[in-house]
C-alpha cells in the first residue's frame, strides 16, 4: 500500500503551523519522523521533545515516573517491551480485543455464585493443570540476573505452545502476560527490564485461558542464597504459604466465605505479619473474576456460602509492615505503603460434595515449596 503524504502539523503541540521538511535528527536516527515548522519552534519544543528520545531508545533503562514518591527501593525499569501477540487459532477471551471484559461487566454487582456443571468442572480442571505447568516452567527460570520481562516471554511462549491465552494480557489493558511482583510489591507488578537480585523474593502470578476456562495461581519464590538466609523474608513467605493452607482446610459445603479472612488474619497476626486488605480472592470459571468476593482480612461481611461445584481463588497477601498499599503511576503495580516486603500465595479451588479439591495443586517436583524458618 502506498502511504499518502499530507502536510503534517508541527510536532510542537502548542504550535498551529504546518511542519516544514525540517526534522529532528535524533528522531531520524531512532527511526521516527518528527517534523517542525522551524528551528525556533524546535528549540521551544526541545525540553519536552527530548523525552521522546528516551522512550525510543530501547537500550537505555529509565524510571518512567522520576517524580513519584516510591515507598521502597524498587523502581520500574523501562522501556517495556512491546505488547506480545498470539496466533488467532488460540481462543481469546472477550477483552483481548479492546481491553474490556464485557462478559464480566454484564454481571457487575451480581452476587449470584455460579455452580459449575460436570463438563465445566472438567474444563476448569484441565486449565488449572496447564496453569500449574506454566507457573512451574516460569519459576524454574528464576535466578539472579534474569529480568522479569524474560520470564514474561517464557510464560507467553509456553502459553502459545499449549494453546492457551495468558489471561492478564490486555485485561483492562494490562500490558503483559503475567504479573511479577518483587519484594515490596504486593501484586500486579508489570514485567520489565529489572534484573532479579540475589536476596529478592518474587511472586509469579500466572493466569491462563484454555478452551474457554480460566485458571489462576501464584507462588512467591526466594531468589538466590541470600534470600534463603534472610530470616525476615522467610518468616513472611512461609507464614503467607501457611495462611493459604489453613484457609483451604476450612473449605467445604456450608462454609461462609466471610470466615476465610478470620483464619488468615489469625495466623498472620500470630506470626507478626499484616494482611493486605485492598485485594481479594474471587470467583473464577468462564470469567476471570466474578462472585464471590473473598477478603483475606478478619471481620468482613462478604456474602455467600460454599456449595459443591463452585470455583474460586484464595490468594492472601501478607506484609512485614503496614497493611496499606500505594499504587504506582502505571495504575497497576501495588506497593506496600512503608516499602516493607510483601508475599502472596494463591490456589484455585473447587468445592466438592465433601470438601475441597485444590485444582492448582503442586507436584512433587514443582520448584519452590516450604523451607524452615531461621530463628
Amino acid at each position: 500500500m502506498v502511504e499518502v503524504q499530507y502536510p503534517k502539523p508541527c510536532s510542537r503541540a502548542e504550535c498551529e503551523n504546518l511542519a516544514s521538511s525540517l526534522k529532528c535528527p535524533t528522531c531520524l536516527k531512532l527511526g521516527k519522523d518528527s517534523s517542525f515548522c522551524g528551528q525556533d519552534c524546535f528549540k521551544k519544543a526541545w525540553p519536552t521533545h527530548k523525552l521522546v528520545h528516551k522512550q525510543l531508545q530501547p537500550s537505555t533503562p529509565y524510571d518512567p515516573f522520576p517524580t513519584f514518591s516510591y515507598t521502597g527501593p524498587l523502581r520500574p525499569v523501562y522501556p517495556l517491551s512491546p505488547m506480545r501477540t498470539l496466533p488467532d487459532s488460540i481462543p481469546h477471551p472477550d477483552y483481548a480485543k479492546d481491553g474490556i471484559p464485557h462478559s464480566e461487566q454484564r454481571l457487575f454487582r451480581s452476587t449470584n455464585i455460579h455452580i459449575n456443571t460436570a463438563d465445566e468442572i472438567a474444563g476448569l480442571r484441565e486449565a488449572c493443570k496447564l496453569g500449574r505447568k506454566v507457573l512451574d516452567i516460569a519459576a524454574a527460570a528464576i535466578k539472579p540476573g534474569v529480568t522479569s520481562d524474560s520470564i514474561d516471554v517464557l510464560v507467553h511462549d509456553t502459553c502459545i505452545s499449549i494453546g492457551a491465552y495468558p489471561s492478564p494480557l490486555n485485561y483492562y489493558h494490562f500490558p503483559k502476560s503475567v504479573c511479577i511482583s518483587v519484594n515490596e510489591i504486593i501484586c500486579h507488578g508489570i514485567p520489565d527490564q529489572r534484573k532479579l537480585e540475589d536476596g529478592d523474593i518474587v511472586n509469579i502470578d500466572v493466569s491462563i485461558y484454555y478452551k474457554g476456562f480460566h485458571a489462576d495461581l501464584n507462588e512467591t519464590y526466594y531468589v538466590g542464597d541470600k534470600a534463603l538466609a534472610d530470616a525476615e523474608s522467610i518468616r513472611l513467605v512461609e507464614t503467607t504459604r501457611e495462611c493459604l493452607d489453613k484457609a483451604i482446610e476450612i473449605v467445604k459445603p456450608g462454609m461462609l466465605f466471610r470466615d476465610i479472612g478470620n483464619v488468615i488474619e489469625k495466623h498472620a497476626t500470630a506470626n507478626g505479619c499484616s494482611v493486605i486488605r485492598t485485594y481479594c480472592g474471587h470467583g473464577i470459571n468462564k470469567l476471570f473474576h466474578c462472585a464471590p468476593n473473598i477478603p483475606h482480612y478478619a471481620k468482613n461481611k462478604t456474602p455467600g456460602v460454599a456449595k459443591p461445584g463452585m470455583t474460586f481463588t484464595i490468594e492472601p497477601m501478607l506484609a512485614l509492615g503496614s497493611w496499606k498499599d500505594k499504587t504506582w503511576p502505571d495504575n497497576w503495580t501495588s506497593a506496600t505503603v512503608d516499602g516493607k516486603r510483601s508475599a502472596q500465595f494463591e490456589h484455585m479451588l473447587l468445592v466438592t460434595e465433601t470438601g475441597v479439591e485444590v485444582l492448582t495443586a503442586r507436584h512433587a517436583d514443582s520448584p519452590g515449596g516450604p523451607i524452615s524458618r531461621i530463628s
Binding site: 515507598t71 464485557h102 462478559s103 457487575f108 489493558h173 500486579h188
Partner: protein
C-alpha cells in the same frame, strides 16, 4: 544505536518530590481524624434533588463536597462494582460561601478483585488531598438504583476508610409519584452474560417494579416535595402508600425541597442504631398496607438462646443470599433487626441487599427483638411461618 546527549544542554527545572516520610505522617494524621459521613440523595429527574442540595448548603455551615454520579462509558469501572455508579471526574465543593470544582483522580480497573470501587477511592483521595470535609452528599442520576451505590460505600471497618455511609434520602415529586410508581418496567439491572453462558437469575419471576419503588424502598428519609401542588387528601394517601412500601423511612413533606432543619436528614447513622427508635416503628404486619410489589414486613423476635440465634443467622443468610424463603422467591432491599439474647446481649443487624452486619449494642431497648424487612415478593404469613419453624 543513536548517541543521545540530551543531558549536556539546558539545566532542567527542579521538580518537587514528596518524600515517603511525609506520606507516612499524613497517614498518621488521617487516622486520627474522624470519618466523614456520606449521604446518598436519589430521586427522579425534576423531583428536586439539586434544589435540596442547594438548600442544605445554604442552611448549614458545614464544609460539604457534592459528588454527582453519572453513567459514564469513558471511565473504567472496577470489577464487582456497577457500571451505573461511576463518579464523574469533577465534583462541586462548597466551602462556606463559595463553590469550586475539584478534579478527581480515577485509577485504572483492577486485575484482581479490589474491595473498593473507583469512586470510593477517588473520594478518599480527595479527602486526603484537600483536608477533611464535614460532609459528602452524593447525588445519583434520576433512574439510579441506590442499592449498589449504598453497598459500595458501606465498607468493612477493617478498611479504615475516611468515609462512611450515613443514609439515603429519596426526593419524590408529589404530583408525579403515583404515575411513577405504576409505570413498571422489567428491571434491566441484571443482564445475562450471554457470551460466557453464565446468567444471573436473581430477578427472575418477581413482579416487575418501577425505579420509584426501588428508590423509596432504600430510603432512610423521603422528601415528599411539591407538597403544595397536591390536595391534602392526595398527600395523605401518597404518604400512606409510601409508608406501605417503606415503613422505616421518615417522610418529610416539603415545598421547593425546603426542610425545616438539616438535622432531620443528615447525620442519621447514630440514630439508626439507636434502640429507642425501634419502639416507634409501626408494625405494618397486617395485609392492609401490603403493596404487592415492594413492601415492609415487621416480625417479632423472641428472646433467643445462642442456638436459636445461630439458626436465625442461617435463616437470614438464606433470605439475603439465596433470595428464597421456603421456596418462595424474594428480593430484600433493606433489613433491620434487633436481637435480644437470653444472655442479656443485644445486637442490631443492618442489611442492604445481600450484605449485612451485626453490631453489638450496650443498652437494652425493650424485652424482645424484631426484624423489619423491605423488599420484593415478601409475604407476612410465609415469612412468619418460616421464621417460627427456624427459631423454635
Amino acid at each position: 544505536m543513536a548517541n543521545i546527549d540530551d543531558d549536556n544542554d539546558e539545566v532542567p527545572a527542579l521538580v518537587e518530590v514528596q518524600t515517603a516520610l511525609e506520606d507516612a505522617i499524613d497517614e498518621d494524621i488521617e487516622q486520627n481524624d474522624k470519618k466523614v459521613p456520606l449521604t446518598i440523595v436519589t430521586g427522579y429527574l425534576g423531583a428536586g434533588k439539586s434544589c435540596l442540595l442547594n438548600n442544605i448548603m445554604r442552611q448549614t455551615n458545614k464544609k460539604i463536597a457534592i459528588a454527582l454520579k453519572v453513567k459514564g462509558t469513558e471511565l473504567i469501572p472496577f470489577i464487582e462494582f456497577g457500571d451505573s455508579v461511576d463518579i464523574e471526574k469533577s465534583l462541586t465543593v462548597s466551602d462556606g460561601s463559595k463553590n469550586y470544582t475539584e478534579w478527581l483522580e480515577l485509577g485504572n480497573g483492577c486485575l484482581c478483585c479490589s474491595v473498593k470501587d473507583n469512586g470510593v477511592a477517588a473520594l478518599e483521595s480527595l479527602m486526603e488531598k484537600k483536608g477533611k470535609f464535614d460532609y459528602i452528599l452524593l447525588e445519583t442520576t434520576g433512574l439510579a438504583d441506590p442499592g449498589p451505590i449504598a453497598q459500595m460505600f458501606w465498607l468493612d471497618t477493617a478498611l479504615a476508610s475516611s468515609i462512611y455511609l450515613d443514609g439515603i434520602i429519596t426526593v419524590i415529586d408529589a404530583v408525579n409519584i403515583v404515575k411513577n410508581l405504576d409505570d413498571t418496567v422489567v428491571d434491566m439491572h441484571h443482564q445475562d452474560g450471554t457470551e460466557s453462558g453464565i446468567t444471573d437469575q436473581t430477578q427472575a419471576d418477581l413482579v416487575p417494579t418501577s425505579t420509584a419503588y426501588t428508590q423509596i424502598s432504600y430510603a432512610d428519609v423521603i422528601i415528599l416535595n411539591k407538597s403544595d401542588l397536591v390536595e391534602d387528601e392526595t398527600r395523605r394517601s401518597i404518604a400512606e402508600r409510601i409508608a406501605g412500601i417503606n415503613s422505616l423511612a421518615t417522610i418529610i413533606p416539603t415545598t421547593f425541597s425546603k426542610v425545616d432543619s438539616v438535622e432531620d436528614i443528615l447525620d442519621l447513622a447514630t440514630v439508626n442504631n439507636d434502640l429507642t427508635r425501634w419502639e416507634n416503628i409501626k408494625a405494618f404486619s397486617s395485609k392492609a398496607f401490603h403493596d404487592h410489589r415492594v413492601t415492609t414486613i415487621t416480625l417479632p423476635l423472641p428472646v433467643m438462646s445462642q442456638d436459636s440465634y445461630r439458626a436465625f443467622d442461617r435463616w437470614l443468610q438464606n433470605l439475603l443470599w439465596e433470595d428464597i424463603v421456603d421456596s418462595h422467591r424474594v428480593e430484600v432491599h433493606r433489613l433491620k433487626a434487633k436481637i435480644v439474647l437470653d444472655s442479656d446481649e443485644t445486637f442490631v443487624i443492618q442489611g442492604v441487599r445481600d450484605t449485612y452486619d451485626t453490631i453489638p449494642v450496650s443498652e437494652t431497648g425493650g424485652s424482645s427483638g424484631k426484624v423489619v424487612i423491605i423488599g420484593k415478593g415478601l409475604d407476612y404469613d410465609i415469612l412468619q411461618r418460616s421464621l417460627s419453624k427456624t427459631i423454635l
